[in-house]
Symmetry: none
DNA sequence: TATGAATGAGATTTCATTCAT
DNA sequence: TATGAATGAAATCTCATTCAT
């Protein structure tokens, strides 16, 4: 399996660094090869083409989110607590890796539509986990049972994503992780059962 | 003033159509010129360069959002109602113009970072209006007075934007405007005063 | 006759200024028109095309050289003195008009071959006057009767031209006119030591 | 070193041919590439840009002049004989290569000022050799010790250059090399009759 | 596996010239 | 005569990908 070959990860990490430092449009294959310490042609022994590097990069890094969140979901926290953990994890991973944050929030969005659709389908697995939390919350009576799962998922992901992007665009000059609690609160309020109307 | 000359709008509208139909990276100046019914060189009598077309396009169309929302804000609706109107307007404008929706949600995001920052500064005016609604809601006691305005704004814009993008990516196969009420409800719940905890 | 119409000289003078200030390749017709205070289209009422402006400019300015030299030739100076006068005049005219010097020595040489050939044919009249002086010198026994007139003319013009060009390229930081005497001396006497003076 | 790679000279020679045949302004990179038998992009592996091709071309060919003249200078000819050898060499090199003559005398002068200044600084090495001959002649008492070296150099180079240019413009229809002696004679002795020989 | 020299398609922008007013 | 908005042809350079070694 290609993923086990040493240069596979080497090239992906080089891509993250090069894209973060030079920007998506200045991240030529030759620059990535140089950063990875391999020849240009070697890239093509591990990846079908440049787009494949980016998708693989996204798949690889998305695991960092999915593995953790899967753990939380399997655990016996309440749905609201699971959501908090998920948001915290999302913020922590990106706050811990500046390059990755820049790449996922800013640079990778400059790609063509075709690539974006492929990235979206990688993202789907993550979003499905969000859906599971929402459904569990509704079933357990913690969230309003009349919620539109898709809309709520969009609210959650939209809010989280916009929060991270704004943070990156502001040069990460405030603490992202500490925003997890208030963001969670805003979302939970939105999902919460109406006490009395 | 260039904006009053007939070909200014003509070229911008042509750009929207061409970008929507062919995608950002296939929207060559010559294609836009042809669609606008002018010579390639004529484009440069109205716009400094290709990037300038896109920024102008965004500025021009952003007015469709800002003017309406400014009206609502000036009116005597409650903050919650103003927010609903804003969301409705946002969805209506984009639902009514397929090309524009594709361009703003998908194509214009493929531009380089530099252009995106310029687009963001145009967007700022719109976001400021959202801030005004949030603040008014907090002052009038309709929203929780302890809210972090920036976070709430990010939630609102993030949710609305994600909702529209998902709708566009799903080929607009369901009704966007009817999502205004439930999206608004989700947001209001998030902002609402805690009745009892 | 077009040359008598007021805007003819106005446009030529504008061309000299614009070319001197912005360089040949940045001397667009629209810039010349603006400097001359006329509309772009007006240029074409006086000149067939851009090339025609330049040739006319050269013809016009070449008169400054030819008229004077014709006078000297008609006078009763010795051939050697006539040559000195000619060189002096050449240097004086260019030293007195910085713009003209830059245009003739540097900018006008960047034109395409076709234009240069036309300019050369304008120059021919001037070179013919040089030939007359040489021939007269030979006939009067002041110059060696075995001289190849064409070669001598090339030496004279080549030396004079190279001297002016070097002076312009050195930002005209020394006095050009005072070089007339030694240049004349070199030409008349050559480098060889006079066996007896 | 790039100069040792076979395609470096191949491209330069192709440039000389293409420029001579089609003229400077019609010497597109793609034409040069085709003539050199390489792909357009290959040009840019050897040269920074189009201007770099021209400067390199000039540097490369200038060696043909400099090497020979350096030899003569090192030899034990008299200064006057060295000068004759230099002029002869200058004429021989250009007479032997029609394309090169057209390129250096006509086409390369149509370039913008910036490039011309760079070419001039390459030329400087050659002119320095001329200066050496002049100084040696003055020291050895062969030339007038009161000469202004710069002026003499301008006379020599101006005369030689003008002679070659005229020859090229006249379609090289007479023998250039046989002009070396009379040109040398003119320079050495001037037009003045020797009072005693 | 690994290399890296070579490939070649493709698009923005300028500016001399025209022509309807 | 005079205007100036509109025209449209034309060329440099980049960079993902290949393939002979």
């Amino acid at each position: 399996m290609r993923k086990n070959r040493p240069k596979y990860k080497q090239i992906i990490d080089a891509a993250v660094v090069v894209i973060a430092q030079h920007g998506y449009h200045q991240a030529q294959v030759s620059k990535i090869a140089k950063q990875a310490g391999v020849a240009d042609g070697t890239i093509y022994l591990y990846f079908k083409n440049k787009e494949d590097i980016l998708i693989s990069l996204f798949e690889e890094k998305m695991q960092l989110f999915i593995e953790k969140v899967s753990e939380y979901i399997a655990g016996d926290l309440s749905p609201s607590e699971k959501l908090l953990k998920m948001i915290e994890n999302h913020f922590k991973v990106l706050a811990a890796d500046h390059h990755l944050a820049v790449v996922t929030q800013l640079e990778l969005r400059q790609t063509n539509l075709d690539l974006r659709l492929k990235i979206n389908s990688v993202l789907k697995e993550y979003l499905t986990l969000v859906d599971q939390i929402i459904r569990e919350g509704m079933e357990k009576g913690e969230f309003d049972s009349g919620l539109d799962v898709r809309l709520v998922r969009q609210m959650i992901f939209g809010t989280v994503d916009e929060t991270v992007t704004t943070w990156v665009m502001n040069k990460e000059k405030y603490d992202l992780v500490s925003l997890a609690a208030p963001v969670h609160q805003l979302i939970i309020n939105g999902c919460g059962k109406k006490t009395a109307v």
